[in-house]
Symmetry: C2
Subunit: 329 residues, 2 copies
């Protein structure tokens, strides 16, 4: 591989001039520009990003710590973020969440430009340790942390209205016995995520018993329904914390011999591809993963330029499909 030195020699200029040319700072005459340009092409030169990173203490890589890439919501998020980052000159260093100190130290030793994390599997202290090093951090807020370090930027989802909207929608459909399936570990105050907290608020205290905790994927949801209910005692509607879970419920309920939406209504969350192409189509609260991917990247970039960055709010939107529309039949 040709280095900057080779280019300088070939073009008959100094190494510094090549740097100036590449980074478009400093002064370099039209004459020199041309010769450098030619030398670069001739040698098929490409600047060594590692050497550059070492010098400027920034690798132009953003770390994405995602709960679960196998959940299409995160896949869509990462997909978009990757493209958005590339357009701005960055790459994505991808990681499943492995929440130990060793891991975070290792990844930070790449002099990363910033970090995105969905926050329900990573500890607050670890995030704070990173932001303290001056690395921009954005979290997709899920669990509500108290007194989080102010330097951590947040993308917040405003759940204040959506569960009420869902409740009204189900009621109109004549569903009376609604069960919520939560991804939170338990009902304990410090383990409850924002969705669950808002669901509880929306349905009121008296309905808090109608919640099952700690179900996060399709398989678990299917098992839960299959193991817990029979055709006779199944709730007539389920609200699920993500689409993957909802799909599991659809499958489980169908297996019990019940029909959707005639016997049981199902509502998902995230409006991923899955919900659109589930059979029957799944009613789902849309949170745009693409939007979050884009926003996360621009927040990280702005922050790394030293700009002041405000937290970002997203309001979910209910997309109604067949799985909860008994009235249309």
């Amino acid at each position: 591989m040709a280095s900057r030195k080779d280019v300088a020699r070939e073009a008959g200029v100094s190494a510094a001039s090549v740097s100036y040319y590449i980074n478009n700072n400093g002064y370099v005459s039209a004459e020199a520009r041309k010769r450098i340009q030619e030398a670069i092409e001739k040698l098929n030169y490409s600047p060594n990003q590692i050497a550059r990173s070492l010098k400027i203490k920034d690798s132009k890589q953003f770390v994405f710590l995602c709960n679960e890439i196998r959940n299409p919501f995160y896949a869509q998020l990462v997909y978009r973020a990757t493209n958005a980052a590339y357009e701005k000159g960055y790459f994505i260093l991808f990681s499943n969440v492995i929440d130990d100190d060793e891991y975070l130290k290792r990844i930070c030793s790449y002099q990363i430009s910033g970090l995105f994390a969905s926050n329900n599997k990573i500890k607050k202290e670890n995030l704070e340790a990173i932001v303290k090093q001056g690395i921009p951090v954005v979290v997709l807020r899920d669990v509500a942390w108290s007194d989080l370090d102010q330097r951590i930027m947040q993308i917040k989802i405003d759940y204040s209205n959506i569960f009420h909207e869902i409740a009204v929608h189900l009621e109109k459909g004549g569903y009376r016995n609604v069960h919520y399936i939560s991804g939170a570990k338990s009902g304990k105050p410090d383990e409850v995520d924002e969705k669950t907290r808002n669901y509880r608020n929306a349905v009121g205290r008296e309905r808090s018993g109608d919640i099952t905790y700690n179900i996060t994927d399709t398989k678990e949801a299917f098992q839960f329904v299959a193991d817990t209910y029979s055709k006779e005692d199944c709730p007539d509607a389920f609200v699920c914390s993500n689409d993957a879970v909802a799909i599991g419920v659809v499958k489980g309920v169908t297996q019990l011999g019940l029909r959707i939406p005639e016997d049981v209504g199902v509502v998902g969350f995230d409006n991923t591809f899955q919900s659109r192409f589930c059979v029957p189509g799944l009613t789902s609260a849309e949170i745009s993963a693409e939007k979050i991917g884009d926003i996360a990247i621009s927040m990280l970039i702005e922050k790394s330029k030293g700009q002041k960055v405000e937290d970002y709010q997203i309001v979910p939107k209910l997309i109604i499909r067949e799985s909860s529309s008994r009235n249309d039949l």
Copy 2:
């Protein structure tokens, strides 16, 4: 951040000794080890990976170029690869495929340790340019390239039997009019992927007309079925090149007012989570994404150690579920 120099000073040894200690080469006395260990802990030191990369010309990052992370098959693959890589001391630099020269140059300038690519969106020449630089390359083979550079390692899927197996299975179910939905751009020789080629071989020449090309995701598949067929003239079985496409077909067929599997049988490919939890459960040819993730990482690592690495063969396995099982009813 503390540097190696700080540690050396704190421990009262030379910088070189710290290096020896960290990399576990060279000699360092028990005495010195202890003092270095203490200094590292006291200063919370972590070696700078970028500086190390520059020196050893290897960043311990593998690039994963995936067709489409939003397809759960690739999501599962990347998920597993990420963990496997981490255990061996590597990270994953993730990219959607952006197949231009500029892009590849930029990513290689990170002195990457290796590259994985699924090969149906990236050009052969580009891969060959990379392997020529001495960077280990593994492809998940899909399109059959002729005279590919020998240094490119391949994970091959042996489709020689699976389509025959599927054909027999459908015939047993009484399905007579089978249509294949291909991901290949067209039927042209240099654009046909391995799956399609083998499907053609399995069903014989006379059935080659029963193929639709250039459909790769759920949405396209749904549109295709909805736009092309009516309840009366729909084929009675579809074989699809991946599960995402199969889901779209299920949805499209259902919308035509036909039932699965009674009226129409559907077979997918890849056996992702989607097929397991589709309603009805989707018959699918299993190719273990997890296995491929693991294998890819170990091939890259072995190659980077200078070992001789053989291509890897995977044989798909038909997983039969409800979507093609008319006889069970």
